[in-house]
Symmetry: C2
């Protein structure tokens, strides 16, 4: 690579010498101190002398990898045809390649499943600690989901739970959720997961514009807590790619829109919400005692089909965590 | 308010009856189950019967407050003319109105200061627990900042630290940072804070477009950790208002831009970075032992002026937390 084709400010800002850059990769040079009119005075192979008197020697491999626009990070979106696999707790808990592969699945697909976990309470936070840090909230470090399913009617499916993301009323929204099955004697009640980023691909463009352009308030309140924040149902990043989905009909508050937009907004909102329930997008599996799943809570929605009329009990524990810890552990295990 | 002027889907979705809405405010009705062609069949004062057979009775005060577009949340931006006030630890730690006012300052101004805290290590997390939950990271629940200032040159100001936000390489970025002074015998070293949302107001529009439209990678790595994420320097929300600023010259990685954009991007980046250092925008105060400040880490940048040549030592402890806990505690205290 011909360094003289690169911008002098960019080169000077990225000088790798120990005076400009700490061995941790942190920049010691304050970019703001670089003169605006900086020029390259001379170049000898990979060594550049600047008009501020500084000399930098660049690694050609680093230049090749870092100059010019970055390729977008490939995304592997999925639908119902995805083959659902679960990893064994004992392998993953031992660390190494099995843990790396399990974390890579979360990073790539937005979820992963474990089987054979201990059924002791508290296991869910220990799994989170395999890669990162529990996000403590007003629900505690972990929360219990206990359901007693009472037989009522043979056709009863009312306990099904539509696909949703958790805690959209938090700022920031927890980026990871873990759910661990301690006991389950109920028939039915299968877990469903859907890759909302995949569904967004099929959403009409006009719907996408409404769902990204109008913030929705989400709220949860009890005696000790009052959480409220607003965010659009679909968020885009600076490149225009989908960055996050917040969909939760339980905590969504009344839409605050001009009267002439309400009808169109509901049309888009209902289309997206119903697509999230379509069998062609979702995967389904039964979490047995000792089973656990983790989801990227800004991408993969979770839900539950209805229980059968036979009744039974279910005891789950959940906790929240964040993506940075997971990706850090994955990167370190991949070194 | 004439309910027949409101959209039937909106009305049905916001039915407040105990079948549709839990006392916690959570919606029990799955919005997706509402028929698209729903109509209002009859209205008697505040009671509406819909074509799905459901009858809802609305509170006129609730309708007035929730129908139609929301007024934008007022923001109180500030510059160097802001009068800096600090609250007394003993008052705030006692809870009640003093705690409420202190939290309201964080919510409104993006920072608050405490004086007279105990100088015991660990105080910083106890202050965070007055309103919320510590965000644990690879740095621990809290981290130590110990500086030994060695006299070198009378004019030495090299230890000044430019205005920055913390940990932009985390996903999600911690939304609150607390810093507590345990000991300080060094002369100088004043803390600086700047309201980056105020600075953005004065930024030329073309600069804003570049700084919101181009993601920057931020990174931190050591033996056990590898954190990297990308976000633009300035993020806008769905309304087009400034939502977050990520500015940190130490962890920003080489900009990945087309060659013909590099010069213009640096022009915008340098203008913004230098504006963040301008005395007209920033406030300055000295954190003495027992002093503590908290900042909204997506809005208010912190920095430090240089130490004098007399030398000395400084020991600070910091921790991260999140805004949802703070706003919840503020809302509950304001009931």
């Amino acid at each position: 690579m011909d360094v003289t084709r690169l911008h002098p400010l960019w080169l000077r800002d990225n000088c790798p010498c120990p005076e400009c850059r700490h061995e941790s990769g942190q920049r010691l040079l304050d970019t703001r101190s670089i003169p605006d009119d900086l020029e390259i005075v001379s170049v000898t192979e990979r060594t550049v002398t600047f008009s501020d008197g500084h000399t930098s020697t660049f690694d050609p491999t680093w230049l090749e990898a870092n100059a010019g626009p970055a390729a977008p990070r490939p995304r592997r979106l999925w639908d119902s045809t995805l083959r659902v696999r679960s990893a064994a707790y004992d392998d993953v808990a031992a660390g190494g390649a099995a843990l790396r592969d399990w974390l890579a699945a979360v990073d790539e697909l937005g979820f992963a499943i474990l089987s054979g976990c201990p059924t002791e309470p508290g296991t869910v936070t220990r799994v989170a600690e395999l890669f990162g840090f529990v996000r403590e909230t007003n629900y505690g470090r972990l929360f219990d989901v206990k359901t007693v399913v009472k037989p009522t009617n043979l056709a009863y499916t009312g306990l099904g739970l539509g696909a949703h993301t958790d805690n959209p009323y938090r700022d920031p929204t927890p980026t990871l959720q873990l759910l661990h099955c301690i006991a389950s004697s109920a028939e039915g009640g299968e877990n469903t997961l859907v890759d909302a980023f995949r569904v967004v691909q099929d959403l009409p463009r006009a719907d996408l514009e409404l769902l990204t352009g109008r913030p929705v308030r989400f709220r949860f309140a009890d005696a000790d807590t009052e959480l409220e924040t607003e965010t659009p149902v679909i968020s885009l990043d600076a490149r225009g790619d989908v960055q996050a989905v917040h969909y939760n009909t339980r905590s969504a508050q009344a839409f605050r829109l001009p009267e002439d937009e309400i009808g169109r907004y509901y049309e888009a909102y209902q289309r997206f919400g119903r697509m999230l329930e379509e069998p062609r997008y979702r995967i389904q599996f039964k979490l047995e005692p000792g089973g656990l799943f983790i989801v990227d809570n800004l991408r993969v929605l979770h839900g539950r089909t209805g229980y059968s009329a036979l009744g039974g009990e279910r005891h789950l524990q959940g906790c929240y965590a964040d993506r940075d810890g997971l990706r850090s552990r994955l990167a370190v295990l991949s070194r």
